[in-house]
């Protein structure tokens, strides 16, 4: 029985009871409890099932290292799986459910896996499910997936809010135990900007539980005083419930602040992800106690010694009435003493060491506790709960000398520093023989961009396990860090007095000579069911690298990432390999230290602001008029404007026919607009474009092509000569920022002595294409400027006003119709659009979308970047030789286009295609050729690049690339269709509509 004690519990408020449910059972705890403490207070030791064998699992630890007590928290939009009960603060109305069992926690069908445990050894899945191949996908994987995973996946979108925040500091201290507090005091005294982050809600770490004295007073008093002092300092920021998840290059640190896990529904963000740039990082992250590997060490009721004492001292909760302590070190005796002081029974302390001489054992002895040295737990008795232990010689092989009845086994295998932050960026560890653990090697730290040490371990994280040593170490390390920053510390260091401890003795397997049967019941990884026998088997099968052994056995791969299992596992591996532990090494420590919710990583980036949505000034009008929007980069452009029951296809056809018969409006605001100005601007543009732009007369427009250095087409658009020394370059929608960057790249890096400035004014203007035979009539109705053929001829532009709005009007056409593109200040774009719509009502004006634009340009044989080009196409392939200057000495891409592969005559070249039956060639179809290639695939001689139904012509039209290009006019070729057909098409001129260009030039 675990239960609440009558007295004690430094963190709980007994006057404030809290109701919660576990597996629908109503339970009661106190304010200040963790969920794990409250569960134990309600005698709920069994909290889950293990991953592989579905063994019953109880609470083992009292903090972030807990492997077993993982629960499904909350319901619906507040549901979160895999929450650690040991770090979950209790609140009223908390609902928790245990995981990984069916049908119930107490009665689990998956436990049969355990009965077949000897058939489920390490690497079982790899060995078993290899053959037959097809069975993996259809039989094994669905089954394994169903039984895999601990928590459930949420079924609803996360109902909580999350956010990020940026912070900067000179010294970041991870961990608010006494070492972290000491380091913060020292660091802060220098005037440096200090951030002190603690993962728990409480400061001070283990010192108050362990009864350390600091400056002659109980640790708790010193902690309180330090917090008060730090709180008053302007250069110090302190955050509790803020877990430092990882350290990264250049002093970058991520920390996950839990703001409202314990206050759901109060409107605050649930978590906040801190993105911190720190000058130096001090990792005062403490140490974790290791379990011992003895048979049955996974039975509920076997707990870490430190956890047993935490529950008593912090929460006034006893894990059981009779606790047997098993240890290889002195520290664990504190648990026996604490239990006895709380009035609980400790029938026996089993110490694996041959001699037990320390002060703490002496104190335990004085309290009348029986200590037996050189002994081992041979096995734990019990099923769903510990009922006793069988004891033998540690030096032996498992003969039982004695049995003791108990309901808790408190184990301690020594302590391992939390080296994660030190290791994330490459800090190296050294093996400490005396304490049998890896600790940070300050001679080989992770380094910063300036070559200086980036992370410094302090206190227990640095191997200074006891309070006095930890305080001294933290003070020394913090002083060093301050000195490295060129600052000076002030004030005196606090000193601690603790009960001295005798040396520990490493114990990796208990008893050391245990037989196979016992070793197969010694758990290393409680969550993933990895036992001593599994690691030994992996070693025998040749998995000698610790990284391979980890993946083969799944040791340390659970949500706790081996916090408890790591060192024990690699010690067993080293034993099996007969190599020293440091030679075997550790697996890689990777962030995050404990799991960070995906919501915190996403931060504000969800829903409406998942990513920026770019809107033109007329965007709201399009939405209000039922436009179907398509993404074009981050823009949303109107694809078409369906009316009533129209399909998109019908809408597109109507828009095209109306534009060709009357007049249509296109929102072309997204096109890039870059002003290029300066004495060398003409020369610059002649280099950028394949044709000549320097001789473009003022007031005129010219279509131009841009290539990259390799010669491939990169962008196209109309260039306008604004004045003697300034040009306006239109780019594609997707090219605006890219081409502007391309221009600046050449100007800043290569031609830095050319006098040219550029400005990207894309968003300064709304741009509206007014196209169709009645376009001029429409503009004349608005009035304000002369838009006649004489004053404003094709490929000219003019500035003036329309309907009272200042505009610049370009006579350019992408539709093949009489067309004006009107640029107007963005803040008046909607006004002009609405005036055009209103004035054009009796002319039949209709807006048209991007798809109508695409079809109309294809009818005219105009190429489209991204359709006819794909990064492998040069202008010559598209019969655009007329747009390539033969006179210019150079332009970007010229040399590339002269390379033999690009200059060879049998490249795929542009032509038009008309199916013989009038149908539409499928998107992406290839033009098939005779024979097959080396891979047995049909040979091809080309491919379609644009294919549409032309409502103007009433048939399918297409452009494509084909060997021979326009030389093939009249040939009939075959395009493939899905699934196995072909369609015949004749090679034709790609200009299907108005070849002479009479429509656009009226």
């Amino acid at each position: 029985m675990s239960t609440r004690l009558q007295k004690g519990g430094r963190l709980i408020d007994r006057s404030s009871a809290v109701e919660f449910t576990f597996n629908s059972k109503r339970m009661r705890g106190f304010q200040g409890d963790t969920l794990a403490a409250a569960l134990l207070a309600n005698d709920q030791m069994l909290v889950g099932r293990s991953f592989k064998y579905h063994r019953p699992r109880g609470i083992v630890a009292s903090g972030a290292e807990e492997p077993n007590a993982l629960i499904n928290m909350g319901t619906g939009a507040q549901f979160a799986p895999n929450q650690r009960a040991t770090t979950t603060e209790l609140f009223a109305g908390l609902t928790a459910r245990s995981q990984n069992h069916w049908p119930s926690l107490e009665m689990d069908i998956g436990v049969v896996n355990g009965l077949f445990a000897r058939f489920l050894p390490a690497g079982f899945y790899y060995k078993t499910f290899i053959h037959p191949r097809a069975a993996w996908k259809h039989v094994f994987e669905p089954f394994i997936r169903q039984s895999a995973g601990l928590g459930q996946a949420p079924t609803e979108a996360d109902g909580d809010r999350y956010e990020h925040a940026y912070a900067f500091c000179d010294i970041l201290i991870a961990g608010g135990g006494i070492a972290g507090l000491q380091a913060a005091l020292v660091a802060a005294s220098s005037g440096a900007r200090v951030m002190l982050l603690e993962q728990n809600a409480h400061w001070g770490g283990r010192a108050p539980v362990d009864g350390d004295l600091i400056n002659g007073k109980p640790a708790e008093e010193w902690i309180k005083a330090v917090l008060e002092a730090l709180g008053k300092m302007e250069n110090v920021t302190m955050r509790s419930r803020c877990m430092v998840a990882g350290s990264y290059d250049h002093g970058y640190v991520l920390a996950d602040e839990n703001i409202a896990d314990h206050t759901p529904g109060d409107g605050r963000p649930k978590h906040r992800l801190w993105r911190i740039r720190a000058g130096r990082i001090i990792a005062a992250t403490g140490a974790l106690e290791r379990p011992l590997a003895f048979a049955g060490n996974d039975i509920p009721g076997v707990m870490l010694a430190s956890a047993v004492r935490d529950y008593v001292v912090n929460y006034g909760v006893s894990a059981g009435d009779r606790t047997v302590l098993v240890t290889n070190n002195d520290d664990a005796y504190r648990t026996a003493i604490a239990l006895r002081e709380a009035g609980l029974e400790v029938p026996l302390i089993i110490d694996a060491r041959a001699e037990v001489t320390g002060d703490l054992p002496a104190k335990a002895r004085a309290m009348g506790i029986r200590i037996t040295s050189g002994r081992a737990v041979v096995k734990v008795k019990g099923g769903a709960r510990v009922s006793g232990v069988a004891i033998g010689l540690q030096a032996g092989e498992g003969a039982v000398l004695e049995e003791v009845v108990c309901d808790v086994v408190a184990m301690s295998g020594g302590w391992s520093p939390v080296v994660h932050l030190f290791s994330h960026c490459g800090g190296k560890l050294i093996w400490d023989d005396a304490q049998a653990h890896f600790r940070p090697d300050s001679a080989r730290p992770p380094t910063n961009q300036d070559g200086a040490s980036m992370v410094f371990a302090a206190g227990a994280a640095n191997g200074a396990l006891q309070g006095d040593a930890a305080l001294a170490d933290a003070g020394r390390v913090a002083s060093n860090v301050v000195g490295e920053l060129g600052l000076k510390t002030r004030g005196k260091l606090a000193k601690a007095v603790v009960c001295s401890e005798a040396a520990m003795e490493p114990v990796w397997v208990m008893p050391q000579g245990a037989n196979t049967v016992l070793r197969a019941k010694m758990w290393l990884d409680f969550q993933n069911d990895v036992k001593v026998s599994d690691v030994q088997l992996a070693a025998r099968e040749g998995y000698t690298s610790v990284e391979h052994a980890k993946r083969y056995t799944t040791l340390g791969m659970a949500t706790d990432q081996g916090k408890l299992s790591n060192i024990n596992g690699l010690a067993v591996l080293s034993g099996a390999l007969n190599e020293p532990i440091p030679a075997v090494g550790t697996t890689t420590f990777r962030p995050p230290y404990t799991p960070v919710p995906l919501g915190a990583l996403a931060g504000e980036s969800r829903g409406e602001i998942f990513q920026p949505l770019r809107r033109t000034p007329m965007h709201a009008w399009h939405e209000a008029h039922a436009a179907y929007l398509e993404p074009v980069g981050l823009w949303r452009r109107a694809y078409c404007y369906p009316r009533g029951p129209e399909t998109h296809e019908q809408a597109v056809h109507r828009e095209i026919l109306n534009t060709r018969a009357n007049v249509g409006l296109l929102d072309a605001s997204t096109l890039g607009k870059i002003v290029v100005k300066g004495p060398d601007a003409g020369r610059f543009l002649d280099m950028l474009y394949t044709n000549v732009m320097s001789n473009l007369p003022v007031g005129k427009c010219r279509y131009g092509l841009m290539c990259n250095e390799q010669g491939f087409l990169s962008d196209d658009g109309v260039v306008v000569r604004l004045s003697e020394d300034s040009w306006l370059c239109h780019t594609t929608t997707g090219g605006a920022e890219r081409i502007h960057g391309w221009m600046e790249d050449w100007l800043q890096c290569e031609w830095w002595d050319w006098q040219v400035y550029t400005a990207n004014v894309t968003e300064q203007y709304a741009q509206i294409a007014v196209a169709g035979p009645k376009a001029r009539q429409l503009l004349e109705k608005l009035g304000g400027m002369d838009v006649s053929k004489e004053s404003l001829p094709f490929m000219g532009f003019a500035e003036g006003t329309l309907a009272g709005l200042p505009v610049r009007v370009y006579r350019i056409s992408f539709s093949g119709e009489l067309s004006y593109e009107i640029a107007v200040a963005a803040s008046q774009g909607l006004a002009l659009w609405e005036k055009l719509i209103a004035a054009g009502a009796d002319l039949g004006v209709q807006p048209y979308g991007t798809e109508a634009m695409h079809v109309m340009r294809a009818e005219k044989g105009f190429i489209m970047m991204g359709d006819e080009t794909d990064g492998t196409v040069i202008p010559q392939d598209l019969n655009l030789g007329w747009a390539i200057s033969k006179k210019k000495a150079d332009y970007l891409g010229k040399r590339g286009q002269e390379r033999t592969y690009l200059a060879r005559p049998d490249r795929f070249k542009l032509a038009g295609f008309e199916t013989l039956d009038g149908s539409v060639i499928p998107d992406g179809a290839y033009i098939i050729a005779e024979g097959v290639n080396a891979n047995g695939q049909r040979n091809t001689q080309g491919r379609v690049t644009s294919t549409y139904h032309s409502p103007t012509l009433g048939r399918g039209i297409a452009m494509g690339l084909i060997v021979g290009g326009m030389d093939r006019l009249g040939d009939v070729v075959e395009f493939n269709t899905l699934p196995n057909g072909t369609v015949k098409a004749r090679v034709v001129d790609p200009v299907f509509y108005d070849k002479e260009g009479e429509m656009q030039n009226v």
């Binding site: 809010r161 956010e163 990020h164 925040a165 940026y166 912070a167 900067f168 900007r193 920021t237 109060d266 409107g267 605050r268 963000p269 993105r275 740039r277 931060g603 504000e604 980036s605 409406e608 602001i609 990513q611 920026p612 949505l613 770019r614 809107r615 033109t616 000034p617 981050l634 823009w635 002003v675 100005k677 300066g678 004495p679 300034s726 006098q755 400035y757 550029t758 400005a759 004014v761 894309t762 968003e763 300064q764 203007y765 009272g804 709005l805 200040a825 963005a826 803040s827 008046q828 909607l830 006004a831």
Partner: protein, 183 residues
């Protein structure tokens, strides 16, 4: 002539700080090297301020000149005054190599004010606001888009591109939610 409209019609959100879209605000992007003698005169003629030092903004009433890059300045003024300012720049710079472009309509402008206005920005922009000079103009990003800001009375003025005004308003609204103060 229609009145020019800002991207969001002067949207506002009152959270732990106040977010107010303002505008449209007159802006000119002026490119020229600081070594050009006429530059300081042109800025003086356009907005009445001196030449800003690197990463600084010089404010004079409702006008300002900010340093954007080694050869780019941002001139701020009332919306209606850009034409006169452009003329003044053109006249003063004469034949000196420069580029001046009106960008008033390419931008959206937000004032974030209140005692904790900085906290709204600290959630979105990787900027060490605590170390900024009072007259600093900072070009950075807000979440996923480019943004610049400088201190004004009681808070900050944030400038971004017009097309992402809605996104920026969403960001600022999210970050200014009551109860989400950083401290």
């Amino acid at each position: 002539m229609s009145d020019p409209v800002s991207a969001l019609g002067l949207a506002r959100f009152d959270g732990f700080a106040t977010v107010q879209e303002i505008g449209p605000l007159g802006m000119i992007s002026l490119r020229a090297g600081p070594e050009v003698k006429a530059l300081a005169k042109a800025i003086k003629a356009a907005v009445g301020t001196g030449l800003p030092a690197p990463r600084r903004i010089v404010v004079a009433g409702d006008r300002a000149a900010g340093w954007m890059s080694p050869d780019e300045y941002l001139l701020v003024m009332p919306y209606a005054d850009t034409e006169a300012a452009m003329a003044a720049i053109s006249k003063t710079m004469g034949a000196e190599h420069h580029l001046a472009a009106v960008v008033s309509d390419a931008r959206a402008v937000f004032d974030v004010t209140g005692g904790k206005a900085d906290q709204v920005l600290r959630k979105l922009m990787p900027v060490d606001i605590g170390q900024m000079a009072p007259d600093e103009l900072r070009r950075s990003r807000a979440a996923q888009v480019a943004a610049a800001f400088w201190a004004i009375d009681g808070g900050y003025r944030v400038v971004c591109f017009r097309s992402v005004a809605g996104y920026m308003m969403g960001l600022l609204t999210h970050s200014a939610q009551p109860g989400s103060e950083l401290n």
